[in-house]
């Protein structure tokens, strides 16, 4: 599941805005396969964590109610241009991925 994250961070004034897109099926576990009628097992991101200078900026807990290929955006203060942020997700099967971005 490498490179499943696209993340971008931009600094405007003293506010850093982080936007990220992840590739993930986000199956709720409630949907049924149209042909076989079998329930498609749940497979969704449970946690998204963004860190800046080893501090947690945001920690998002998700359910399968977040859309497929999820999008997240948030803002924080204190960072400078050239700093890096790390964004990582973990899903209900224990799979995970992470990415880094330089604040521009």
């Amino acid at each position: 599941m490498a490179n499943s994250i696209k993340v971008r961070a931009t600094l405007k004034g003293d506010v850093t805005e982080v936007k990220a897109l992840m590739n993930h099926p986000m199956e709720t576990g409630l949907r049924k396969d149209k042909e076989t009628g079998e329930v498609i097992p749940a497979h969704f991101i449970q946690e998204v964590v963004c860190k800046w200078q080893d501090k947690e900026v945001i920690n998002a807990l998700w359910s399968g109610g977040v859309s497929k290929n999820p999008y997240i955006a948030f803002k924080f203060t204190g960072a400078a241009k050239g700093d890096t942020i790390q964004l990582a997700w973990t899903d209900n099967k224990g799979e995970s991925d992470s990415a880094e971005a330089e604040i521009k």
Binding site: V15, T28, L30, R31, K32, D33, K34, I40, Q46, E47, W52, K55, E56, V57, I58, N59, A60, L61, W62, S63, G64, G65, V66, S67, K68, P70, Y71, I72, A73, F74, K75, F76, T77, G78, A79, T90, D91, N92, K93, G94
Partner: protein, 157 residues
């Protein structure tokens, strides 16, 4: 001869037992990874139960300092963009719920130091319903809601 067969049978059942244990352990690990994920809140079938599981209480005060940006009409319930902004001081978390979904709690964003009261994501909505944003700041819980009309639900199949 009989004894030999019995040995084989025993070996076979022992091996099967070991596989069973391994599979069981494998299934349990992902749960252990995320101890912080509030399963009861996410599995709750009503908004009140979800809030109870997440924040320990379902009481919240409607506040106009929370703004929800979401479409009035969502043609596709599978992808409904929702942005929550709030200028309440000292926000701990922002949670997003869709009242009409089978399990209303969609996401809860815990804000760290320096994070502003702003989160944006895309959610699934089963049907026309209120989108509820709940902001926890210290021991205060505020909320705001906005109705989104959904033409095609995004949770069924």
């Amino acid at each position: 001869m009989i004894d030999a067969k019995r040995r084989i049978l025993l070996k076979g059942s022992l091996a099967a037992g070991a596989v069973g244990i391994a599979a069981g352990a494998g299934l349990l690990t992902p749960r252990a990874v995320l101890a912080a994920w509030p399963e009861s809140a996410f599995a709750a079938k009503s908004v009140d139960d979800a809030l109870e599981g997440l924040l320990g209480t379902s009481s919240h005060e409607v506040s106009d300092s929370i703004k929800i940006k979401a479409p009035d009409i969502a043609e596709n319930g599978a992808v409904v963009p929702v942005t929550v902004e709030s200028d309440v001081d000292g926000i701990d978390s922002i949670s997003v719920l869709a009242a009409g979904n089978q399990t209303p709690l969609i996401a809860s964003f815990n804000l760290g130091a320096g994070a502003l009261g702003f989160v944006s994501t895309r959610i699934k909505m089963a049907k026309t319903a209120e989108v509820i944003a709940v902001v926890k700041a210290g021991d205060k819980i505020f909320s705001a809601s906005k109705e989104v009309k959904v033409t095609i639900g995004g949770c069924g199949g």
